[in-house]
């Protein structure tokens, strides 16, 4: 079933990211996503960046579809199906949220008094949701050094004692996640990672999002670190839209 709901407000978060707020009376857990249809264009996976009574999609403008979606005006409708996917595990205790690019969208519902954040972006004005953390609980990194640490997300993680967190949640493009996984491999830490791959069906039948025989859309998008460490395809190879195998450089 396709849900069609009207947008309450459209908030500009960064020059390339908007958030669409709406009411949708369905139980959603942090880490889950919806397949969002922009009629006439395409259908793309979007995490829920709020999971309470008020829901939110936080959209980074990549191509036609995400651009059109980010332009939906209050009172207009968005169309989506879901929620889909395996949510992040809930834990008691201190947590660390590590987000790159639009990755902070799916981590946002996990922000609470026990959570610290690591937010990375190309430059200062693209840092997403950093203002939602208390100033003493956030580390930022920018490629161009315009704010925080000059460097990538791993450079930021080096500054932190990761072992002290009950759980570290990570979300971002596969390349970024790969660098995080390589960085922590062999250490004794609890980590869940939300992966990103092409998605077409969203319901575990088309194989376009698969990684090592797991479907990101149903077995994931969140996976435990130990599972990710067993994946031969992770960070190395995936299938293009056609199904042709391509290698990450």
């Amino acid at each position: 079933m396709i849900n069609s709901v009207r947008i309450l407000r459209n908030e500009i978060n960064t020059p390339t990211v908007n958030s669409l707020y709406f009411h949708w009376d369905v139980r959603v857990e942090p880490g889950q996503f919806v397949m969002t249809w922009v009629p006439g264009l395409s259908e793309i996976p979007m995490s829920l960046s709020l999971t309470g009574k008020e829901k939110c999609l936080t959209v980074k403008k990549y191509g036609d579809t995400s651009n059109a979606l980010s332009n939906v005006k209050p009172g207009e409708r968005i169309f989506f199906r879901g929620p889909y996917g395996k949510p992040f595990s809930k834990v008691r205790g201190k947590t660390l949220l590590v987000g790159g690019g639009s990755g902070m969208a799916s981590l946002r519902p996990l922000i609470d008094q026990d959570a610290s954040g690591v937010v990375a972006a190309r430059s200062s004005d693209e840092l997403l949701f950093k203002g939602l953390f208390p100033i003493d609980k956030i580390i930022v990194a920018t490629d161009d050094g315009s704010e925080g640490i000059k460097g990538n997300i791993v450079d930021a993680l080096r500054e932190i004692e990761l072992e002290k967190y009950e759980m570290i949640y990570v979300c971002g493009p596969e390349r970024m996640i790969k660098s995080v996984v390589d960085f922590v491999a062999g250490r004794n830490i609890n980590m869940e990672l939300s992966l990103e791959r092409n998605m077409k069906c969203g319901v575990g039948i088309c194989d376009s999002c698969s990684i090592d025989g797991f479907q990101l859309c149903t077995d994931g998008p969140t996976f435990g670190l130990s599972t990710v460490l067993t994946m031969k395809e992770f960070g190395r190879t995936k299938l293009a839209e056609s199904g042709k195998r391509i290698w990450f450089q």
Binding site: I2, S4, V203, T218
Partner: protein, 302 residues
């Protein structure tokens, strides 16, 4: 009570159970096929592969309104030259991999089948449901002459078994089945042409507008097709369409099917559907006192 024997064979292909992964569902990536085979499917049919790389249609590629499931994936595939590695990976499971192919004419089918044979598939499945330009709106599988040519051509060109997968979207299925009678087995059925319109966006949901209906809605069409063919022809049939339980499979087998394929049910039950249906089949055979599948195959035809 001793456990029943649920193995079956289609020609020289031996299957540990009658449940094969259908073409187009989780069978693009070799690692995925390998995992599903290790989790209970007795064989896997690859996504249909053509001559050239194709991206398929833009999403939405599915229109779902439980239990209605319509897809228009648009035959995305890496092209026959790029699929060998995936088949190799899938074959590491030790179970049969069937290569599904689609083409625009006899010559393409022959070339594709030859390549599949090189890749080591156990059989080639001809997907005869791709759009046919003449007589627009219908499929290659609706033209008995074309079907006859393709089947004869491929049979003459390779030594592995050839399965023909037929479309239910035809006026007279028996005409087509007879045209395909040189095949080593018939696979019945592909999806039923359907469409979903979203009344709030006022548009067809699928980017291709028209798609193929699958899942429980079409099980009666599949059963009818298998029964109709098995009542009239002596050829192994593989049943497919809406199988979600071991009991659904029994219905196909009683209509005469030698084995069955499962597609859309993966959406409802995940990859675990294969162990689920296997358990249900064993449960049925146990409670009804059947030792082997042959004891009830085709029993409803009598």
């Amino acid at each position: 009570m001793s456990i029943s024997d649920i193995s079956t064979s289609i020609g020289n292909i031996n299957l540990s159970n009658p449940f094969i992964l259908a073409s187009g569902i989780l069978d693009e990536n070799g690692y995925t096929m390998k995992r599903i085979l290790s989790e209970g499917a007795s064989a896997a049919v690859t996504k249909s592969i053509g001559m050239e790389e194709r991206n398929g249609y833009k999403p939405p590629i599915v229109a779902i309104d439980d239990p209605i499931f319509i897809n228009a994936v648009g035959l995305p595939n890496p092209g026959i030259l790029n699929v060998g590695e995936e088949i190799k990976t899938a074959r590491e499971s030790g179970k049969p991999v069937i290569g599904s192919i689609f083409g625009k004419d006899e010559n393409e089918f022959i070339e594709l089948a030859g390549k599949m044979e090189e890749y080591g598939v156990s059989a080639v499945e001809l997907n005869l449901s791709c759009p046919h330009v003449k007589g627009f709106g219908s499929e290659i599988g609706g033209d008995p002459n074309l079907v006859r040519k393709i089947v004869k051509g491929v049979k003459g060109a390779i030594s592995k078994p050839v399965w023909s997968k037929l479309s239910p979207n035809v006026t007279n299925l028996l005409d087509i089945a007879n045209a395909a009678s040189d095949s080593d087995a018939l696979v019945l059925i592909n999806t039923v042409r359907g469409m979903k319109i979203d009344i709030y966006s006022k548009k067809p949901v699928l980017s291709n507008k028209v798609g193929g209906l699958s899942g429980s809605s079409i099980k009666p069409v599949g059963i009818r097709s298998v029964y109709e063919v098995k009542s009239n022809m002596d050829i192994p049939v593989i049943g497919v369409g809406g199988i979600e339980s071991g009991f659904d499979a029994v219905e196909y087998i009683m209509a005469g099917a030698t084995a069955v394929q499962i597609g859309t049910a993966v959406w409802k039950y995940g990859r675990a559907v294969f162990s689920k249906v296997t358990n249900e089949l064993l449960e049925f055979m146990g409670s009804e006192g059947y030792g082997k599948i042959e004891e009830f195959r085709g029993i409803a035809l009598k």
